[in-house]
């Protein structure tokens, strides 16, 4: 029989990662949440939308007798249309995302997951269904789904140096949110976007970068290694590489922006040194017209 204390400590260890990320995401989302918004048109739903005069063809049971009793005409009570959208999240959890250039900054992975979960919270409050790319966690709604998302997002990451977007499991005409540093090979990103465009999926690309990756503040003789150690580059004067590195980075950003524009997506670059709230606001705006 397991000792209750040991069981409890194990349970707490298991549950420990869940609340902080989720709570943080809820906290972040609370700053944005404006309330549940309908589709701004009549349809199936719970909320009252408007009264309209009954026209021939309306069933008698649809007539709102209380309203009609106050006038001569008959009125039909319409509800707001509340259709749910599916949003698929993909958060790059490769080794490169675990980089933090400064002890004061969180890792890119943490920021990306935080943003993803906060968006999920917001979307679920709005009644959307949120799931993870791939086949593990199809879009659903509800608090349980949020917990599942949080659990999936706090799982250990992949061992690969650079991640590739997961394009499977995306429902046609759904929405998608890709969070990654996009520093690896761009070909999988192109493929995934092409696949999404084929299915009519629209979405957002968020490139999460560390300020160090943007500034490249290195000098002297240096050996650069990727986080997993698979790539390596040695230079004698790192300072001389700065301009060329930043040119390449700008080129990569431009390419991503082009790609997303062609696929009808949105692209945004976010730095972990900046406020997560600003990024969340932008994300919320970027996803809103999609709904």
């Amino acid at each position: 029989m397991t000792h209750p204390a040991a069981l409890r400590s194990a349970a707490e260890a298991l549950a420990a990662p869940l609340p902080p990320l989720l709570a943080e995401a809820e906290h972040l989302a609370a700053t944005v949440l404006l309330g549940e918004h309908g589709r701004r048109r009549a349809g199936m739903g719970d909320e009252f939308w408007q009264y309209r005069p009954a026209v021939p063809g309306d069933e008698a049971r649809m007539i709102d007798w209380r309203r009609s009793g106050r006038s001569d005409a008959h009125f039909v009570r319409e509800k707001e249309w509340q259709a749910a959208q599916s949003v698929t999240l993909w958060v790059d959890d490769a080794q490169s995302m675990r980089f933090a250039g400064d002890a004061k900054h969180e890792t890119k992975l943490h920021r990306a997951r935080l943003l993803a979960l906060a968006v999920a919270v917001l979307l679920m409050r709005a009644g959307e269904r949120v799931g993870l790319a791939g086949l593990t966690l199809p879009p659903r709604t509800g608090a349980l789904q949020l917990l599942r998302l949080a659990e999936a997002l706090t799982a250990d990451g992949a061992a690969a140096d650079y991640g590739a977007p997961e394009a499977r499991g995306m429902l046609p005409h759904s929405r998608a949110l890709f969070l990654s540093d996009f520093l690896g090979d761009p070909a999988p990103v192109e493929a995934a976007l092409a696949k999404a465009a084929d299915r009519g999926v629209k979405g957002v690309l968020v490139q999460v970068l560390d300020p160090v990756e943007e500034l490249f503040p290195f000098d002297g003789r240096t050996i650069f290694e990727s986080m997993g150690g698979s790539l390596r580059h040695e230079t004698l004067k790192a300072g001389d590489l700065r301009e060329r590195y930043r040119a390449r980075l700008a080129e990569r950003k431009a390419r991503l922006a082009d790609l997303s524009r062609m696929a009808g997506w949105h692209y945004q670059c976010h730095h972990t040194g900046d406020s997560a709230q600003a990024a969340l606001l932008w994300l919320f705006r970027a996803l809103e017209p999609l709904r």
């Binding site: 650069f224 004067k237 790192a238 590489l241």
Partner: protein, 918 residues
């Protein structure tokens, strides 16, 4: 030891290491700095980028140079370099260091002592026993050999003497020495008798080395006074090229401050050992001179003290008969003027003025009667050694002075009328003088035949008349009589001072008689015979360095010794005082010549210069360390590791060096801000909230002052008692908190200075709501602790007629946020009285330095930026009224500070109006 130029090396073989430097250069050049490994996701973007310069895989040349220099410095440093390595002096056995120790040594005594120190150190290293002897202070017998270190410890206590050795004694001492020893003779460079004998005696005992300084020796002969000019003679020992010396005369100025009174330049001709210069000075200045000296020469011989021989007597001439202008030859003073003017300073004026000038002699020509005041003054002056010289005349003869009894100011009693001989109405011939007696001061003066006396006043015969007579006519009647009064004397010439009664003033004898009477005497140096048997007490003595010091309790010397004028241990040069004069004994006698020493060629002569060994090892190793530290920084910078905290530290260090200037500039800006306008200030308590309220309160008060009065204060300033100057602020608001730190002693000093200088501090304990009426609060107790060292006068609660109640507004309450009546100010003086018909007492002095209360005024005054009150006061309209009164109190307070007791002076308004005629 290897010696390269002025540098020697203790371990020269280590220098071979320098040969390894080029190899090291090659080795170091090939090794690039170690790389840093960095995890960096962006490496994917770096792939394929190559470095522009391939040169950088080698260490930069300047870094290599730095390291080479560091290494070279270390190698050279460990090789033990020594600057000015000293060659060892040969010799062994006992060592005698003979120092002349005369005044001539004083000119570079420290260098001499340094040289002796170096010699003794050397002797100590060679374990030679040493003896140190001053030729002016010879040891009893034999040589006091001791360890050289023991002598070195005594060196600082040695001083030269202001005299020269006795040649015979020195030679005898040298010849009495025994044993073998080497001699180092520190010569003073002045040739002297007996040096050869001493040298021969010393050479008989061992090698003699002479040390001499090349600095010139200057001396000054005593000043001579000739024809109204002072002749100064400067001497020098080496008769080389032409040179000039500056001679200065020093004395007391009229304020009693010693300063240079005159200055002259004496030029030595080439090859001459003597230079003369003459000084013509006004007598007044000349009398003040106490010594002459050669400027820049530090020796007793370069100083020549002056004594009475330069002084001139001050003689006051007073005639009883004035107002006969144009009759110069009949003036009673004419012949006296002519006789005394060349040799004495004459003073004119009334007797009472003259007595203030304290002359040496007062001449009364035909003055019969003095007022009692004058008589008392003259008697006092006589008692202190004055000489009163009286001449008879018609007025004296006609008066009844000294007829019935002897007058204190008259040597003898006089008979009425006097007598006249040889005139048309008398018989007999005019009388001539009798030869002078031996007891007379005029003894020895030749009596010219042509002197005739035709009229005189007659002395009343008496028992003491003969003793008092110092000159008589041929028939024995007294012509000059003298009487001692105290330390002074009264002398009466029984004839007039002009040629009316006698031809005496026309003769040369008259002048000689005046000289004998010390009226016009110019004392030269007394003869030895005159000094025999007298005792002289030293007043001032000269040190060998030419400094004049008070003699203290030195014993007196006999006149014979003084006459010999040979300074020695028993007769230090200086100023000696005798019975009636002072004699200066100078180092240099009037006939002295200086001559440089001439040593035989066999005696080695060395200079005094000491070159000290300087070990360079430490400096070089330090340089190596410094270079290595630079290398660390440079390497870090090259490899890109000089960033972040480390870079910040370097920047902070640089800033730290600049910081004091900024503080200074800040202080100046603050002082300007505080003084260009009236500024209210509050004391920082350390509690940010209280300080904020105080600042807001003063801002509100300043705003109200600006609106309502002609006081237009600037923005209030917070004052830190520990660091800030308080003098700029007329008014300090000091909120007291319970945990406020006590000011430091220096801050208390500033506070007390501030209070004494008219500043005012408003202490606010802010507790009138809970404390009051004797109830203590923590703030109140803290205030007591704070105020204890302050200079605070007795206090009382504000009386109803205090000037604070009417400096601007008429007030009787002084509320702040609380409305307690317990507000304390300086107590009125106990003698303040209510003026009849006035509503207040006559309190006319001073601004109260402190106002103490607990009403939390700042909170009531506090206004925010929009001008709205920050804190509520009371309730409703009554509360606003209380705030208004609080503002009025503040305005009254500032007005009180700025205008003082101006309003208190209104008590005089009725009187003023009354005077204006209303």
């Amino acid at each position: 030891m290897l010696t390269l130029g002025p540098i020697g090396f203790a371990a020269p073989w280590l220098l071979l290491g320098l040969a390894a430097l080029p190899i090291l250069w090659l080795l170091l050049r090939a090794v690039p700095p170690a790389p840093i490994r960095r995890r960096f996701p962006g490496v994917a973007l770096l792939l394929g980028l190559s470095d522009d310069e391939t040169q950088t895989d080698r260490t930069p040349w300047w870094l290599l140079l730095l390291r080479m220099l560091a290494l070279a410095a270390a190698i050279v440093g460990f090789a033990g370099p020594v600057l000015n390595p000293q060659a060892q002096r040969a010799g062994s056995g006992p060592l005698l260091v003979l120092i002349d120790g005369t005044w001539a040594d004083a000119r570079d005594w420290p260098r001499r002592i340094d040289r002796v120190g170096a010699l003794l150190e050397e002797a100590g290293r060679a374990s030679r026993p040493a003896a140190l002897v001053l030729s002016t202070d010879l040891p009893g017998a034999g040589l006091p050999f001791q360890a050289a270190d023991a002598w070195a410890a005594r060196l600082p206590g040695l001083t030269p003497r202001p005299w020269e050795p006795d040649p015979a004694a020195l030679a005898a001492w040298a010849q009495g020495l025994e044993g073998r020893f080497d001699t180092f003779w520190m010569s003073d460079g002045v040739a002297r008798d007996g040096r050869d004998a001493v040298l021969a005696a010393l050479e008989a005992r061992g090698a003699v080395t002479v040390f001499e300084s090349p600095r010139p020796v200057h001396a000054l002969r005593p000043a001579a006074f000739e024809d109204g000019r002072i002749r100064l003679t400067a001497l020098r020992a080496d008769r080389g090229a032409a040179a000039e010396v500056t001679l200065s005369a020093t004395g007391l100025d009229p304020n009693g401050v010693e300063r240079e009174l005159a200055r002259a330049t004496a030029a030595f001709a080439t090859g001459a050992g003597r230079a003369e210069v003459e000084l013509a000075l006004p007598p007044e200045l000349r009398n003040r001179i106490t010594r002459f000296s050669v400027a820049g020469a530090r020796s007793a011989a370069a100083v020549s003290l002056t004594d009475d021989s330069l002084k001139r007597r001050e003689v006051a001439l007073i005639a009883g008969r004035e107002g006969r202008e144009g009759l110069e030859l009949l003036s009673p003073l004419h012949y006296l003027h002519r006789a005394l003017a060349p040799t004495a300073d004459l003073i004119d004026g009334t007797l009472s003025d003259i007595l203030l000038a304290n002359p040496d002699v007062i001449v009364l020509a035909d003055v019969a009667k003095l007022t009692p005041d004058e008589e008392a003054g003259v008697l006092d002056w006589l008692a202190q050694g004055g000489l009163l010289l009286r001449f008879a005349g018609p007025r004296l003869a006609a008066s009844d002075v000294a007829r019935a009894e002897e007058e204190p100011l008259m040597p003898v009693r006089l008979r009425a009328g006097g007598r006249s001989v040889g005139g048309t109405m008398s018989w007999g011939e005019p009388k001539s003088l009798r030869a002078f007696d031996e007891t007379s001061p005029f003894y020895g003066l030749p009596v010219p035949d042509e002197v005739r006396v035709s009229a005189q006043v007659m002395a009343q015969p008496g028992p003491e008349l003969a003793a008092r007579t110092i000159a008589a006519l041929s028939d024995g009647t007294p012509l000059v009589t003298r009487k001692r009064v105290g330390q002074g004397q009264v002398v009466l010439f029984h004839v007039t001072a002009n040629a009316e009664w006698s031809t005496l003033p026309l003769s040369g004898l008259f002048v000689q008689m005046l000289e004998r009477l010390a009226v016009s005497t110019r004392p030269g140096r007394p003869e030895a015979a005159a000094l025999a048997g007298t005792t002289w007490v030293p007043e001032q003595v000269l040190s060998a360095f030419g400094e004049v010091a008070e003699a203290g309790n030195l014993p007196g010397v006999m006149g014979e010794a003084l006459a010999a004028a040979r300074p020695g241990p028993d007769l230090p040069p200086g100023l000696y005082a005798g019975a009636d004069r002072r004699i200066a004994l100078n180092v240099i006698t009037p006939e002295r010549e200086l001559r440089a020493t001439a040593w035989p060629a066999r005696v080695p002569v060395e200079g005094l210069s000491v070159t000290r060994e300087t070990a360079l090892k430490g400096a070089l190793l330090l340089a190596a360390l410094g270079l290595l530290a630079l290398d660390v920084l440079a390497s870090l910078w090259l490899s890109g590791r000089l960033r972040g905290a480390r870079g910040g530290a370097v920047v902070l260090l640089a800033l730290g060096l600049l910081l004091p200037h900024e503080v200074q500039a800040q202080d100046d800006a603050r002082a300007l801000a505080a003084t260009s306008e009236v500024v209210l200030a509050h004391v920082l308590t350390g509690d940010a909230r209280i300080d904020g309220i105080a600042a807001a309160g003063l801002r509100g008060l300043s705003k109200r002052l600006y609106q309502r009065t002609s006081v237009e204060p600037g923005a209030p300033i917070a004052v830190n008692l520990e660091t800030d100057e308080l003098a700029f602020f007329p008014f300090l608001y000091w909120p007291v908190t319970a945990d406020q730190p006590l000011p430091s002693d220096s801050a208390y000093g500033r506070l007390n200075r501030y209070l004494r200088g008219g500043g005012m501090i408003l202490f606010d304990t802010r507790d009138a709501d809970v404390a009051g009426f004797g109830g203590g609060s923590p703030e109140g107790r803290r205030l007591q602790q704070i105020a204890r060292p302050l200079d605070i006068p007795p206090l009382e609660t504000i009386p109803s007629d205090h000037v604070l109640t009417r400096t601007f507004y008429l007030l009787q309450d002084f509320p702040g946020r609380h409305a307690s009546r317990d507000v304390w100010v300086e107590a009125a003086p106990p003698d303040a009285e209510q003026v009849e018909g006035m509503p207040f007492r006559n309190l006319n002095d001073g601004v109260t330095p402190v106002v103490i209360g607990g009403n939390d005024w700042a909170a009531a005054w506090a206004l925010d930026d929009s001008g709205a009150p920050v804190f509520p006061v009371g309730r409703g309209y009554a509360g606003e009224r209380q705030r208004e009164i609080a503002f009025r109190f503040g305005i009254n307070l500032v007005m009180h500070v700025l205008t003082g007791n101006y309003k208190s002076d209104q008590v005089h308004v009725p009187a003023l109006l009354d005077r204006l005629g209303q």
